[in-house]
């Protein structure tokens, strides 16, 4: 299935926006006076257009980092920049949420009371820069590209979970974001549906390159999707090992059985396993 996209599918040269720079970020939660350190002096540089996979056991503090970038939480110290502009830092502990950084949530956050089409049209409707007709035109177009034609007037509760995830990604892309933040979005899906979602996501990515900050605990998912894996230590959260995935894009499922994939898997596995074992023994709760 060679397609036009193959020449520079994986290259980041044509992407100019969306570089994230996380410097020395610390986040301490303070319930009942007993300080809990969730993120410990964490520094990550993500070039524009990269798919950066943040891998770590559940509940290790990855989501805290994502929430800080999205602007849902403040940070205790350190700074986060997007394209050189300060999102949050010493003078401004909490970033403003905005449509340049859109989160795709763990359990999905499509509004169940709006049809798929209205969900996708939501962002531009709120911005109010385009006419209603233009927004719907664009939304229908993007739905067709993502194979969602025919589900426009269904409510999210009426379509399969796989379709729902696709709608959510399209809803995010409608706003031309610089960064997409994924919070383990495929966690609840069964392995078959998950595999479709991975290819669909890459396909969408090849068309609209944006920086992707993707949290997961699934190593296979991480290697299949990512340019780079950042393996985090278990609580407090801090980068432990960085693995470059040099498998060329575009990728499809034959990648999964390739030798290079196995090699990278083995390289990353020990570190991940060690952290998982720690969490497993500590009886860490999930989610």
């Amino acid at each position: 299935m060679s397609a036009v996209i193959n020449e520079n599918a994986g290259s980041l040269d044509d992407v100019t926006d969306g570089a994230i720079s996380i410097k020395d970020v610390v986040k301490i939660y303070d319930p009942d006076g007993a300080a809990v350190m969730a993120v410990d002096h964490c520094s990550i540089e993500i070039p524009a257009g990269e798919i950066c996979m943040i891998v770590g056991p559940s509940g290790c503090g990855k989501t805290t980092l994502l929430n800080a970038i999205a602007g849902f939480h403040g940070i205790t110290s350190g700074s986060i920049h997007l394209d050189g502009e300060l999102l949050c830092g010493p003078q401004k502990p909490q970033a403003e949420p905005g449509s340049d950084r859109i989160v795709v949530f763990q359990n999905g956050a499509l509004f169940p009371w709006k049809t798929n089409l209205d969900n996708i049209a939501f962002g531009p409707m709120m911005a109010g820069k385009m006419s209603k007709a233009e927004i719907y035109e664009k939304a229908r177009g993007m739905m067709a590209d993502a194979g969602l034609s025919g589900t426009e007037n269904n409510y999210p509760g009426e379509v399969s979970s796989g379709l729902r995830r696709r709608v959510e990604i399209v809803r995010a892309l409608m706003n031309d974001p610089k960064v997409l933040l994924f919070d383990e979005p495929y966690r609840a899906l069964d392995s078959l549906t998950k595999s479709v979602m991975h290819e669909a996501l890459l396909e969408i990515y090849y068309r609209n390159k944006v920086t992707i900050f993707f949290i997961t605990h699934d190593l296979e998912e991480a290697i299949f999707l990512g340019h780079r894996l950042i393996i985090m230590s278990s609580r407090p959260c801090k980068p432990k090992k960085i693995v470059e995935v040099d498998i060329p894009h575009p990728r499809d499922y034959s990648v999964l059985t390739s030798t290079r994939f196995r090699e990278i898997m083995n390289e990353a596995k020990d570190v991940v396993h060690e952290e998982a074992q720690k969490a497993f023994e500590a009886g860490e709760k999930e989610g």
């Binding site: 056991p57 479709v196 499809d252 596995k269 998982a276 074992q277 497993f280 999930e286």
Partner: protein, 295 residues
């Protein structure tokens, strides 16, 4: 009863005397609903769960595997055909066949210990022997420190281990597991595979395991039953001859495992081809997944 020599029985596991039970389903069918809304879920389905083997059943989600479990466990009975255990027809639920459910079915109002002790107590066997066995199992699944905790205080992995212990204390002749590790994160899941395989390898009782995950199926199975899409029946049986004990790290690089994986994928792909007009949400996703994998 048959005593298998390869069983390296430690003194205390002696209480888990090995049994050799098998279940045979012969040409069974089952429908739900009536009139124009009748939906056939199982159609002329035959298979056997051989004694002292771990049989894994794999098929697309929503293909009727859970119905088969209801039938084998005896919670429901087939419309046609019959299911026998050691030659005797199954008429209702019984403690010789124990089911571990998809979502954890630990009783939330009982502590770990009380949950494990439920079976013996329910049958009026609340004696020192049962208590001793419960202690032994708590120890075995590594939950001594959590004996007085309620299920909600345990992690997902711990809950599954507690459930294994709750089942094992009843010394079932056949253990039936319905996607028991679904919903766990991948890392806990892999650890649970090894853990569960270890438990199985210790006493090698008859186990029947249902899943949608190809990797899980191949890692665990002695025999693999591949099911068709709705209405379900047996499509193929593959004997998995990878030596035990198996380790996750080894199986990843095992050429034979890869070969089997390809075979299974092809078979399931053909299944998808036949069933695309089914119209169910699960079938649509399944079709999608495999048409892409095949591409």
């Amino acid at each position: 009863m048959n005593t298998n020599t390869q069983d390296s029985a430690k003194p205390r596991t002696a209480s888990f005397a090995q049994s050799s039970s098998e279940i045979v389903a012969n040409n069974i069918s089952k429908s739900y609903g009536a009139g124009p809304f009748a939906k056939q879920v199982v159609s002329n389905c035959s298979f056997s769960i051989e004694s002292n083997k771990l049989t894994v059943m794999i098929g697309p989600s929503g293909c009727g595997k859970s119905t088969l479990i209801q039938l084998i466990a005896g919670f429901e009975s087939p419309d046609k055909g019959k299911i026998t255990m050691n030659g005797k027809p199954i008429t209702g639920p019984g403690k010789d066949r124990l089911v571990l459910f998809q979502e954890s079915a630990l009783f939330p109002w009982m502590t770990t210990y009380d949950n494990i002790m439920y079976g013996p107590r329910a049958r009026g066997e609340d004696n020192s022997e049962a208590a001793e066995l419960a202690e032994f199992l708590l120890n075995k699944v590594g939950l001594e420190a959590f004996r007085d905790k309620y299920p909600q205080q345990l992690s997902g992995g711990m809950q599954r281990r507690a459930e294994l212990a709750r089942a094992m204390i009843n010394k079932p002749e056949v253990m039936i597991l319905d996607e028991p590790f679904r919903g766990l994160d991948n890392m806990s899941k892999e650890l649970m595979w090894e853990y569960y395989a270890g438990l199985y390898e210790e006493d090698r009782n008859t186990n029947f395991f249902v899943t949608t995950d190809i990797d899980e199926a191949i890692f665990l199975a002695d025999r693999l039953l591949i099911m068709t899409n709705l209405p379900t029946s047996t499509r193929a049986v593959i004997e998995i001859d990878i030596p035990r004990p198996r380790r996750i790290d080894d199986i990843g690089n095992n050429a034979r495992a890869n070969e089997i994986k390809k075979e299974v994928m092809t078979l399931l792909h053909e299944e998808a081809m036949k069933s695309f007009s089914g119209g169910s949400k699960a079938a649509a996703d399944f079709l999608d997944a495999y048409s892409k994998r095949a591409g």
